[in-house]
Symmetry: C2
Subunit: 327 residues, 2 copies
């Protein structure tokens, strides 16, 4: 998508008329995520398409400034879907899943954390690694888009579980980050040289779990280097979101030969099982600085479009958020 | 492979010198199976390559004619790997997994059944449908190569479990067979018309389980028509065995979007868990004519090569066996 052509900035007055159950928010931070790209297509995937002429939707942290809903009194800090805009009118139907960030106002934790390590990407990494990956100490995991919102956490969580952790990223700076800051055991830049050769060098013992964020060429290479009974956690395939030339994977026979389990998931479906455990464990790891989390913060709603397009191309260094306003 | 060019018939004297533990067999019937094709490649997959200059290996039913092994006295009827030949000398190391067909001499069950419905293909269908497919009554299963050794059983077993059963095959006669003889709910010839359109017509409600025997183009079409939380039982991909132009599957993103579990297995690994239950259940269904089983019998070892090549191309109607000798 091209800013100005496929989406643009628009000013309008904010004069919400709240029905019973509605709230109005002042938006503080937005989360920009890869899944928004398929929502810009004409064809529905697992989630509805964005509607032409209406504000885009994003996960966000916001302050309630008007309320006809006793669950969300004025002044409450909440996390959930809002518009890509300064203020949003949310009907009662649209705030069923919003969570209240108790104590966020007083806490030293930056509000954007609730969009990353303590929010959807954190939950994605944590729940799917356990549920789909079934990791065992001593195994090797390979993570693509390893420096991203989800990838950086999967790597650190896998290390905690005693796995050998290998990652791929799209720049040498990100390789450095994985090795030096996150203590990955090996990492490479997938834009340099042959992917399969890099993979063989980085994981000569073979790959037991592939945490799949990217799809296409990397998936094809990984299938060659997987071990018997390997698992592929099909989290996303970002290389296939923003293209009309889908990549054809030619070696799926490896799934049979190696008895691979290649399994998709959606984080929404894992909250019920892992939500509580995630809040407790990851919350305490992060508070105790046992895990790191890097964010890439764009400032001002006017920069959201460029930040989004940049993220799709790998310009983001860590979780992409947009800071809109101070609390 | 071309008979006469890549494999050929050769006469030699059979004068085995048996060491302690060895046996010699007179071979009665051979099983010809798709997995033999990858064994003819130079590169090992999950199983060793055939050795140039030595007889090919096949599952077979045979009579012990000489024995230095008290477990297999002369006259015993056994099932297990033998050569594509009239007589085979089997060392002790090579008969660890051979089973004794008690009562086979007196039984009215044709010996070839132990290579089909009561043998490896039967076990494949039975164990993997349950273990990997996790079928539930009311679901829809789609089976490719549905009239084959494995496919015809998967379909009948799925019907017993209350599923809606849809199959694809490579000829109109096979379509007839599925509908009339096996009571499939729908079936089509994948060589006629567009596969995805045929699939949509045959399973408008979507596919919950894909029993994958074929790979390539059919897999790509099925991914479009799968339901959320569908399972793909990756049994084999015969369209990819005998070609240098592997088919690139372009829509694996569906695995994420639909939370599909796409999982490979090898029947050898399922005997421990399902062997006993298989012998009991499938043995009694077959004896009571509750399931049918069609075999395609070639006569004489000299016809094995053509039968094998024909089977790879779909000339077989049912399980391909070669009858070598009467008991
Ligand atoms: N299943 C779920 O419920 C769920 C939930 C959350 C996220 N996801 C998926 O998880 C994946 C990662 O999401 P995220 O939020 O953590 O994003 P992210 O990694 O923070 O950002 C996207 C990254 O993808 C990489 N990338 C972009 N185009 C690429 C290409 N053609 N080839 C290889 N890498 C490419 C870029 O990193 P480089 O610089 O390294 O190229 C970019 O920084 C996405 O596929 C997303 O859809 C799924
Ligand atoms: N994982 C395991 O442990 C295990 C065990 C046994 C078998 N298998 C696999 O199961 C599959 C079926 O084996 P089977 O013994 O039951 O063989 P089969 O179906 O009796 O014979 C092979 C059939 O494949 C079909 N075929 C051939 N080339 C094709 C192509 N290009 N496109 C579509 N269909 C094609 C033909 O049927 P049409 O006339 O319908 O085209 C042919 O009759 C194979 O892939 C085999 O490797 C796996």
């Amino acid at each position: 998508p091209i800013p100005g052509e496929h989406f643009g900035l628009q000013e309008s007055e904010f004069k919400p008329v709240l029905k019973n159950g509605d709230i109005a928010t002042r938006n503080l931070a937005l989360s920009l995520d890869p899944y928004m790209r398929p929502r810009m297509d004409a064809e529905k995937s697992y989630i509805d398409c964005f509607k032409i002429g209406e504000p885009l939707i994003a996960g966000g942290v916001a302050e309630v400034i008007e309320s006809q809903n006793p669950r969300f009194p004025v002044g409450t800090i909440i996390e959930g879907y809002v518009g890509w805009e300064l203020y949003t009118h949310l009907t009662e139907a649209n705030i069923q899943d919003h969570r209240i960030l108790h104590g966020a106002r007083e806490s030293s934790i930056p509000l954007s954390s609730y969009l990353g390590v303590l929010g959807m990407p954190g939950m994605t990494a944590y729940s799917s690694l356990i549920e789909v990956g079934a990791p065992k100490a001593g195994e090797t995991i390979f993570i693509s888009a390893a420096a991203g919102a989800v990838g950086q956490l999967v790597g650190q969580m896998a290390k905690r579980l005693g796995l050998r952790v290998v990652g791929s990223v799209g720049s040498d700076e990100k390789v450095e980050f994985l090795l030096k800051d996150l203590h990955f055991d090996a990492a490479f830049n997938y834009k340099r040289g042959n992917i399969l050769e890099n993979l063989r060098k980085a994981a000569p013992e073979g790959i037991d779990i592939y945490y799949e964020n990217v799809g296409g060429e990397q998936l094809e290479a990984v299938l060659e280097q997987m071990n018997d009974h390997g698992r592929i956690v099909a989290c996303g395939m970002i290389s296939q979101y923003n293209t009309k030339n889908a990549y054809g994977v030619r070696n799926l026979l490896q799934v049979v030969i190696k008895r691979i389990r290649f399994e998709g998931f959606l984080v929404e479906e894992l909250y019920a099982k892992y939500g509580e455990q995630f809040d407790k464990e990851v919350g305490s790891w992060f508070a105790n600085k046992e895990i790191k989390y890097v964010e890439d913060v764009a400032h001002g709603i006017e920069n959201a479009m460029d930040a989004f397009v940049g993220m799709l191309k790998g310009k983001n260094f860590g979780k992409q958020v947009v800071k809109i306003a101070d609390l």
